[in-house]
């Protein structure tokens, strides 16, 4: 049964308007992300390489820091949604869907950061991976921790039980992020210092700086668009869980009726 079947016409109208508005926002975000990413790609190829010593490999500065930023933003979103689910006054299944979406997106972007960093590292330091590097190690640990959260989420259980597990798993993992960050920073690092976030003048300027800042905007818009759609998928998955058996039985009965009437299915 559709959720809107027994609703008055006014509520039905409000609902369809809300759906339309959401679709418009999603379309605008998707189109903006596509245009911005295309622009970043063109600028990244046409502007001069931002570092003379690192050469062409330094063009990865237009992608790698932005993907890292999105992964951190996704994990922060994940823990905020988890806390909103855990807090009884704000508890809604929608927060769990958003937390799950953010965890999945975070794992994707942190993997992307890791792969892009490895390619950059090969070009600059001559090695794909070095465990004794603070940021490589912390990124790897972050990936492993949140793979655990995603695994926890995918285990079969009721939506409430899954939501509680995800929220608590996210909280337990997130409080470890600063400890991992500082412990491996004290350990050792090959990485260059911050390029933008430092008290004195940034290490790059002009078009390279503008392109890098644009890449942050483009990836943030992409993240927002992905959040909307991944949250929608999480909601659909739950709906499917509820209807799954009924749908399967109806489909099987229909097949049976077709078989009995002698018409090939």
């Amino acid at each position: 049964m559709s959720p809107s079947t027994n609703q008055p016409p006014q509520a039905e109208g409000r609902r369809s308007r809300l759906v339309r508005d959401r679709q418009t926002i999603s379309w605008l975000l998707g189109a903006s992300a596509f245009v911005l990413l295309a622009l970043v790609s063109v600028l990244a190829i046409t502007t001069p390489a931002p570092d003379y010593v690192q050469g062409e490999a330094s063009r990865l500065i237009y992608v790698h820091p932005a993907t890292a930023w999105v992964s951190y933003a996704a994990f922060a979103t994940n823990v905020v949604c988890a806390l909103l689910w855990l807090w009884p006054r704000t508890r809604k299944i929608g927060w769990d869907h958003a937390a799950g979406a953010a965890a999945h997106i975070g794992v994707f972007f942190v993997s992307m950061t890791f792969v892009l960093g490895a390619i950059w590292g090969r070009g600059t330091w001559g090695t794909f991976f070095r465990l004794r590097d603070a940021r490589m190690a912390s990124t790897l640990v972050l990936l492993l921790m949140y793979l655990g959260v995603v695994t926890l989420r995918q285990l079969p259980s009721s939506p409430t039980s899954r939501a509680r597990r995800t929220a608590l798993g996210s909280l337990l993992a997130f409080v470890n992020v600063p400890i991992v960050h500082f412990s491996v920073l004290w350990w050792d690092t090959l990485h260059q210092g911050p390029t933008l976030a430092k008290p004195e003048k940034p290490s790059i300027d002009g078009m390279p700086l503008a392109t890098m800042l644009l890449s942050f905007v483009a990836f943030t818009v992409l993240f927002s668009w992905l959040m909307i759609h991944r949250t929608r998928i999480e909601r659909w998955n739950d709906a499917l869980l509820g209807d799954d058996l009924d749908t399967a039985i109806t489909a099987r009965q229909a097949e049976g009726r077709v078989a009995r009437s002698g018409i090939p299915a």
Binding site: V141, T151, L152, L155, R165, L168, G169, L171, L172
Partner: protein
């Protein structure tokens, strides 16, 4: 809270006293792990006068092997700690007693910590023998070793107890728990190993710097456990 913690601690220690799981299963397992490391790493250690070439001082290898073995034993101990609650609806009975969840957490974590400390003391001797570690003579080095041991054990017991409760109601908890727990313990492993390396190489000042990570980890996860164990117990 403290009274409830004492009750749960006494219960868990009584279960261990009667079953001897830590003594008869966990301890032989970690001894075997240490010996396997010793066999596997024999060509890279400098305690063997017959070995030459690219070698590493045992003072750098032994702490790593020790703390890895401790991590594995912690996984086994918390799995045992939670599985004993899941038989015959004991976990639900524990909730029905109306105990403070923070007290249950402190009691269970303390029981794991005490068993872990006992294993660590015995394991330390095995590592010294298997790897030929020269025991430090300065009181400063010993103070560093003991401080790290206590802090890391509290931290490890707290975080492992939280994850054990989180995975309690899951059918695949035996395989899931290490996947969830071990990545979280990376800073703890790093800090404890570095601090012990400092103690064994007479660089205690560098070692003490790492104690901060152990202390922060312990405080954070004890606090999270105390605050969140009520929700974790509902799992």
């Amino acid at each position: 809270m403290w009274n409830d913690a004492r009750v749960v601690l006494a219960k868990d220690l009584a279960v261990e006293w009667r079953s001897h799981v830590a003594l008869r299963q966990v301890l032989p397992f970690v001894f075997t792990v240490v010996l396997l490391f010793a066999f596997g790493l024999d060509r890279v250690l400098v305690n063997d006068p017959l070995v030459s070439g690219d070698t590493v001082p045992v003072a750098y290898v032994a702490p790593g092997v020790f703390w890895l073995a401790v991590l594995f034993s912690a996984v086994m101990l918390v799995q045992r700690s939670i599985s004993s609650e899941l038989d015959d609806g004991a976990w639900d009975q524990l909730r029905l007693w109306g105990l403070d969840p923070a007290g249950v957490f402190v009691g269970k974590a303390a029981a794991v910590a005490l068993q872990l400390l006992a294993i660590e003391v015995l394991l330390g001797g095995v590592v010294c023998v298997a790897f030929g570690v020269s025991v430090p003579s300065s009181p400063g080095a010993w103070l560093l070793i003991v401080t790290v041991m206590v802090l890391a054990t509290i931290a490890l017991s707290a975080v492992a107890s939280c994850y054990a409760a989180l995975s309690a109601g899951i059918r695949v908890r035996e395989t899931l728990l290490p996947v969830l727990l071990l990545p979280i313990t990376v800073p703890l492993l790093l800090a404890s190993v570095q601090a012990w390396q400092g103690a064994l190489t007479a660089e205690t000042a560098a070692g003490w710097a790492w104690v901060r990570v152990d202390a922060v980890f312990a405080v954070v996860y004890v606090a999270v456990g105390v605050l969140a164990y009520g929700a974790l117990m509902e799992e």
